[in-house]
Symmetry: C2
Subunit: 639 residues, 2 copies
């Protein structure tokens, strides 16, 4: 049937009122994408995550049956957008939980801390010297007594403002240079970027445009992609956004995604997904802050090695296969447009360097941000994402390792897990009377549990003897324990006024324990190898997208971190994005991040003789060897 | 009429046998271009130069009447290819004088000299260190004990062979890197090029391809474009080729072409013409030497400032207009493909720096080649092309100027002028009995006169009192003096067996004298300004496309060069292309050429108080002031 004859229908999204025309048979999720309406979706439209719920107000549609909707939801005309095909003009309502501010909280303290950089360089130890800068130049026009050519005149003017021993200029900029200098009476704004030891004239504009210069920092997580929009003129983070990585439908961890890409020759598709996610975040931030994409002149990325390879379509296959290497650890700066990222078409893309196939630039960013590399005393850094990477060291040495922790603390693989967005339970305590006290992000009715809430849940269930040291529910202990579709589950929040109940299942708990055990086993291996004892640790930094708040004591209770005095444990949030921003704002920080990446010694846990044993021992709460957790004695005595 | 219905005819070119199909009405010149058959053509098809003569063997055609063919030629079915439109299938013969070896002689001694560079670096003062090199690298593949990423592994291997503090790599090369290293078992050839202080990995290939690495040097003359094909593996010039600049139909000098381009918004067309000429030369050389264009990895260009601007489509308009400046004097290396030059698609284009709007990189190349910049004693350098540029100086100072000499000595604007190709009269003497002795390039029947022959002709006519000191024919002196279509003309070669007679006209002589006067006046201005006397000159270098041979004494006889002992005068041929090749083969030479360009002081003759006066005085043979030419006394006594 010729496409031209296919019937089109108008879909209107409330409350925004945005509309689009789509052919019959289009899913509501596709229609939302087309309209630019944001809907949460982990599985990318495959119908198994159940996140893309939407309310149908009017119109005909065809939906596949699903177990992901309760009878109550169905009565309220809630459908899964990805499973609902348009058969007429429709009006639908996007529930609040999709709203775009869900990502904001991932920045939290981190963003606040970073704002201090402005004029207070000593706070982070770097002078403000962004990788990309706009310079306003007023040149004396050429005359009979000064016949310096335009190109050389510009270079002289740049060098008066900037230390630039080697200046480069692309051909297209060179061709536009002379007409532009003449029409602007030699008053221009040049955008100059650092490209591996040289300074590139990235762009040239007539007049003074220095006050509009933005950059985007991206943390490419396996599960979550986070973006911060930075105003380079005053070094402030002006907005933040996050989304689930839409590659997730090809596998929860990146190893599975590499296998999928190899088996299906789907490297293009994997790249398209992550680039699409980045561009979505970019658009959202730009629209919300009314920033012209042309004024975003740089992008700095951090992420695990595989994600960076997917983004740039570099060959990732030997990350999962002997000899377990990256195609590139140090990525030269490229034009962002070459990777499909839709900032200024001549804007630059910088990637922080990685250490090894399993220790990416996100970890280098963490070491940079916590200043582990500069300290006299020994510090421990653990970043809990889909993988759990651990770094130990000081100014003289750095060792690192990576455990495949799984994304449980990111809310994935947990029945009511969600990322740290509005409605997420971020704190949870079981009180003496057995009742549950909780706090949600945005103080709304709870819709799920984010990382910090999950850590609390695990610790509280254990402390209150609802689970035993192996994490198994004690069957007789609590009336809130019921048999659900997936086995035993514990009710945290009862159903109420159309809101679903929130539970934690045995499978959830097993996933959480597996994650914490992987991290702790990695810590043990590094500490053993360097003969570091718990008392030798000056500081322990816990990073990750748990949420704004983290009760660090719970990390010791469950045995995720070594038992050190609580004042030594610092929750540092998303250090990956913080490091990306530090580098964006300081050339020196980029140089140091390269030094960090070069100097770190990588321990391969898979081939390590004691890792498996450490992992099995760490699968207890807090550990099989309670002597490692003296302060856990109280909890233990309750068991 | 729909194009599809337009009738097509087959044109066969003898002796090559090459064929093409063209629509009715196509000119034979267009058909030749399409087939890749080379035909001389100065005017670019406008029908006024008369160079594109071709013999029709068979077939119907329509020709416009022309005075550029003799009745004898018409009887022999000779036509102007550009004025003859195809009306049927045709067979035509391309006369030998078009043959592609006509350019070879422009290299001559120069090419021979350059071959010495191999292994004899002291000859030209530079070590062999080409701007672009192929390196064969055998790397140890990664293993469990050596997990260096591919990208960093390659950089380490490059640095073992090459001093490369800053290495850059384009994104497309980076993306191909890992698969290629794996499939080649880590044995690859990298092509590395110098890009303004950095080393770029331009290309990467599986296996060893080091023995195939070529570059092309281009001299972009206003009238003539010369190309040398260089084998970079042994630093030898393996072939050379030349063509008239096909921009010539837009004006004989570049000022007229800039005006044309401005008035007709024809900058694209001007660029297309010169790029087409360069590609034509490139193809010719590549086909003849069986060199794959992919194996030509670099192009080095020299030329006057305007020609380089046309080639790169940089704005040339202020070259002709106050404040008389270039858009760029120092052109950053770019990818040749960006300018449309059809070497390896990632190959680099280097342009030598220029000094000013009227002193281009060809002159910098001349100073480099003659080593003027390094000598204790004062030398004079004069390059006679369409303009006549002059440089005076030594290791401490350099001054330069440019006179609009006109292209007479390049054979343009002279009735039987031609470039130094087969059949050109390169030497001419009038013997005591009044008979003319001459030598042609290739020792064939003469078909025209090249630069050295024109200089001889002017000097011999003067010495034999056939012209007076103002260059006017003495009407009564010789039976070979006749009245032609354009006034008085002197027969040098009588018509014979279908060959046309060769004459020199009064207009030709006036053009030649104007050229030599411009050059000498520029020399006088620079010598006066620096208080340099003739006897202070250690050496005088005469450059230009005169031909292989030049009788330097004649340059003194006519008053083109100062009257210094003949052993001090050196004919150095095409130093523009020689300099381009030196730079191609030596990074150091590029650095020095930049120093030369920066340090030269430019004298603007148009605004100079005494230049016009000097010019008028120099329009005599040899000069109004005979005291400047003491050794010309003998000739003068004859007048």
């Amino acid at each position: 049937m010729p496409q031209a004859k296919m019937k089109k229908f108008t879909i209107r999204f409330e409350p925004s009122g945005l509309k689009t025309d789509v052919p019959a048979g289009t899913t509501l999720l596709e229609a939302a994408h087309k309209t630019g309406v944001y809907l949460s979706s982990i599985c990318g439209g495959d119908g198994y995550c159940g996140k893309c719920k939407i309310i149908v107000n009017e119109g005909q549609f065809q939906s596949r049956p699903t177990t992901l909707l309760t009878p109550q939801e169905t009565r309220e005309n809630i459908v899964l957008a990805c499973q609902s095909k348009v058969l007429s003009d429709m009006t639908v309502t996007v529930p609040k939980w999709h709203s775009l501010d869900v990502g904001q909280i991932l920045t939290g303290d981190d963003a606040k801390r970073f704002r201090n950089l402005k004029g207070e360089a000593e706070v982070v130890g770097f002078e403000l010297d962004p990788l990309i800068q706009k310079l306003y130049l007023e040149m004396t026009p050429p005359s009979l007594s000064d016949h310096t050519a335009d190109h050389e005149r510009l270079y002289l003017a740049i060098r008066q403002k900037n230390d630039a021993p080697i200046i480069q200029m692309g051909f297209r900029v060179l061709q536009r240079l002379s007409p532009l200098l003449q029409s602007s009476d030699y008053k221009v704004t040049v955008t100059v970027g650092r490209r591996g030891g040289t300074t590139e004239v990235v762009e040239i504009e007539s007049g003074n445009h220095c006050r509009r210069n933005f950059a985007i920092a991206i943390d490419l997580g396996t599960t979550t992609v986070v973006a911060h929009l930075i105003d380079l003129t005053n070094a402030t983070t002006i907005d933040t956004e996050a989304t689930y990585n839409s590659q997730i439908s090809f596998g929860e961890d990146y190893i599975r995604r590499i296998i999928y890409a190899e088996e299906n020759d789907a490297f293009d598709e994997l790249q398209n997904r992550i680039v699409h996610d980045v561009n979505d975040l970019l658009m959202t931030l730009a629209v919300r802050q009314k920033v012209d994409l042309q004024d975003i002149t740089a992008c700095v990325c951090t992420g695990n090695t595989a994600m960076v390879h997917f983004l740039l379509k570099l060959d990732p296959t030997r990350i999962r296969r002997e000899p377990y290497i990256a195609s590139a650890g140090f990525i030269p700066p490229i034009r962002a447009a070459e990777a499909g990222i839709q900032i200024n078409k001549r804007g630059l893309l910088f990637c922080l360097p990685s250490v090894a196939a399993y220790v990416g630039s996100d970890i280098v960013a963490g070491v940079l941000t916590t200043q582990l590399y500069a300290k006299e005393g020994i510090s421990l850094f653990a970043d809990i994402g889909t993988n759990g990477e651990v770094v130990l060291g000081n100014k003289d040495w750095l060792v690192c390792a990576s455990s495949s922790a799984g994304p449980a603390f990111e809310g994935s693989g947990v029945k009511h897990g969600m990322r740290a967005g509005a409605g997420a339970i971020e704190r949870l305590a079981i009180l003496e009377d057995g009742s549950i006290e909780l706090k949600t992000i945005g103080d709304t009715h709870p819709t799920g549990i984010c990382g910090s809430g999950l850590l609390d849940t695990l610790a509280e269930l254990y402390k209150n003897r609802i689970i035993d040291r192996m994490g198994r529910f004690r069957i007789d202990c609590d009336s809130r324990l019921t048999e659900g579709q997936e086995g035993l589950q514990f009710q945290l929040v009862p159903a109420k006024e159309g809101h679903q109940e929130i539970v934690i299942t045995q499978a959830d708990i097993n996933n959480l324990i597996r994650s914490k055990a992987g991290v702790f086993a990695a810590i043990r291996v590094l500490m053993d190898a360097t003969q570091t004892k718990s008392e030798d640790l000056d500081a322990v930094y816990l990073a990750g997208g748990f949420g704004n708040f983290l009760n660090t004591s719970q990390a010791v209770v469950v045995g995720m971190l070594p038992d050190v005095p609580l004042e030594k444990i610092h929750f540092v949030g998303n250090t990956s994005i913080a490091g990306a921003k530090t580098v964006m704002l300081s050339q020196k920080a980029l140089d140091i991040s390269e030094e960090i990446a070069k100097s770190m010694t990588y321990f391969d846990l898979m081939s390590h003789p004691t890792y498996m044993e450490e992992f099995i021992r760490a699968k207890f709460l807090p550990h099989t060897d309670l002597s490692l957790f003296p302060s856990a004695g109280l909890v233990d005595s309750l068991q």
